[in-house]
């Protein structure tokens, strides 16, 4: 089962390493881990998707809090949340009907972000299952290269995760 945790962490060297090490030590498989800035100076935000059950996710949350640089952790498994993943997919255009590809693009709300002589690069954004589904439709056409950002996620509604109390 996939479990999404969000951690607000101090933007300091080695923090990513500490978080990754903690998850590795308990042998949880990381499905994806993204890090980026937040609106608060000195605070980064990690979205960690792990392959684990609820109990294990609670353990990871507890251990995350032990890290001195971790400010806040939110378990998005327990609350309604918006999740987004982005993929760039380079698809071969030779050897099949270009119109088929364009139809997939059209039907799936993918964007063409680059065209080469042999390939076309698509951007797909959405809930992770949507991205999975589009990729599945592109596979028979010949995927030459692909990258996914990994999931970022945020709780729905007015409640905001903030590190302001730790400034």
């Amino acid at each position: 089962m996939h479990h999404t945790l969000v951690a607000l962490v101090e933007d300091k060297p080695g923090v990513l390493n500490r978080v990754a090490n903690l998850v590795r030590r308990r042998a949880f498989n990381i499905e994806s881990l993204t890090v980026g800035r937040t609106a608060e100076p000195g605070v980064s935000r990690m979205t960690i998707v792990i392959d684990s059950d609820q109990a294990s996710a609670e353990r990871v949350t507890a251990y995350l809090y032990k890290l001195v640089n971790v400010l806040q952790v939110e378990d998005l498994g327990a609350v309604p949340a918006v999740a987004r993943d982005l993929a760039l997919v380079k698809v071969a255009v030779a050897g099949h009907d270009r119109a088929t590809l364009l139809r997939v693009v059209d039907e799936t709300r993918a964007h063409i972000v680059d065209t080469g002589e042999q390939t076309m690069t698509l951007e797909i954004t959405g809930e992770p299952p949507h991205v999975d589904a589009v990729i599945a439709r592109l596979e028979p056409l010949g995927i030459v290269e692909m990258v996914r950002t990994g999931q970022v996620a945020m709780r729905r509604g007015d409640t905001a995760l903030s590190a302001a109390q730790y400034s």
């Binding site: 080695g14 390493n17 090490n21 353990r59 032990k66 001195v68």
Partner: protein, 574 residues
Amino acid sequence: MPKRTGAQIIWECLVNEGVTTVFGYPGGAILPAYDAILDYPTIQHVLVRHEQGAAHMADGYARASGQVGVAIATSGPGATNLVTGIATAMMDSSPVVCITGQVPSKLIGYDAFQETDITGITLPITKHNYLVTRVEDIMPTIKEAFHLAKSGRPGPVLVDITKDAQQASIEWEWDPKPVKIRGYRPSRPVTSAQLSKATELIRASKRPVILAGQGVIQSNGMKELIAFAELLNAPIAMTLLGLGGVPASHRLNLGMMGMHGEAWVNHAIQGADLLMAFGMRFDDRVTGNTKTYAPHARKLHVDIDPSEINKNVTADAAIVGDLRETLKDLIEVLEPADHTPWLEHIESMKGDAAVRDIQTLPDTGHLYAAHVINDIWRITEGKAIVVTDVGQHQMWEAQYYHHETPRSLITSGGLGTMGFALPAAIGAKMACPDAEVWVIVGDGGFQMTQAELTTAAQEGIKINVAIINNGYLGMVRQWQEFFYERRYSSTPLRSPDFVKIADAHGLAGFRVEKRGDVEDVVQRARSTDGTILIDFRVEQEDSVYPMVPAGADLDAMIRRPEPSVLAETGADPI
């Protein structure tokens, strides 16, 4: 503001943190600090013989005093030699600060001479660690390191400082402001909801058992725990690291629980309807099989570290916070209870399970480790600080030296580090110069760090080293006897002549082969100046009983076999 080099700032900070003793070993990357220390005469530097010893000494110092212990090492091999000691301190939540030199910052990442990524290596075995590359960062980092090491759940912190940061200078003065770390909450206030859930469980209980761990000692909650136990008339079972937190002679103190706990203690836990776990973490050595652990008991868990709650054993109620404060709160709201029938039931289980008073057993001429330790307890009137190593002798110490005061037993529990005792005892002695310090160590473990005997001699301190010499890596031999058909693979152990080793260090050495000689030699050793060593030649194939095999149910104990009740009956060994 005066100008100071980074190296000077290190010592200035330590002086301001109240440090008077450090344990270390010099080398290239820490040379600036070693040069500067000569100008800080209030700090005594103990030159160790191996950096592992420095880390254990700092740990022993911390455990004996409750103050932060400090170890210093150079980069590369100096730093990596600290690793076992750091891991030991981590597992037992001991407040230690390690300061290591690092190669100059511009060489980091170039595989420079003696460069090691020690912050990477120690990441999982420190509470936190730092790499400092700028002189301005030295003071804030050392202040944070001390704050982290001693607050909340204590633990080791490593500060790795590059040589150029030690050499650079700035205008500097001590900043007395208290440390504030953004995401760090060492403890939190106890909520009334937590308290009322806890009291509900306590009031409903007919067969409670208190499980007292090291948290009792670390929170300074000894008095409160006794008051709490007396209020409820509830029995107390101790973890290994908790020993001393409640006087062994207290009527409610049942003794040690777990793998080598007394049978009635484990039976009491298995029969309890409420476990009140205070500052302990349900280590597998105390629970045995968690699936069958205390099956009738609800669990109330109090710990300062929230990640301990529901880790090994699921809690029905939990309080995260300082144990002492929590106990005060509980005492305030609880009314006296009487569990006399339950106490009588436990008392009745002692029966033949009780370790008989081995002092009164006839002397058969054989020397058993249990006798030696019990005699040392009697002769020192239970007032010594005893530092043990790891193995059979460690468990016999826990069973036969009855600790009345906190911080009087220093032992590596969580990591079980052989080689810990001698250096940790040196640290303990430096922390408590007026205390009588005894090392109880196996012939195996002594040989792991025996080089530190020279350190004790050089420092001119008096510690008493009792080698429980059974000619085996005894605890492993015992497992081979029980679980591997007595196939003694790599456990028979040849040792040097320990008395001559003492002699070579200019120290007094003694040998004891008969029980009748124990008292006399121990007394002579105590009155001899300087560190002394006694080689106790004990029964070779004795085993520690009772024993819960690893992972077995807590009440599935292996008991001392009837026909060969060695130590208890004084019968001839088979």
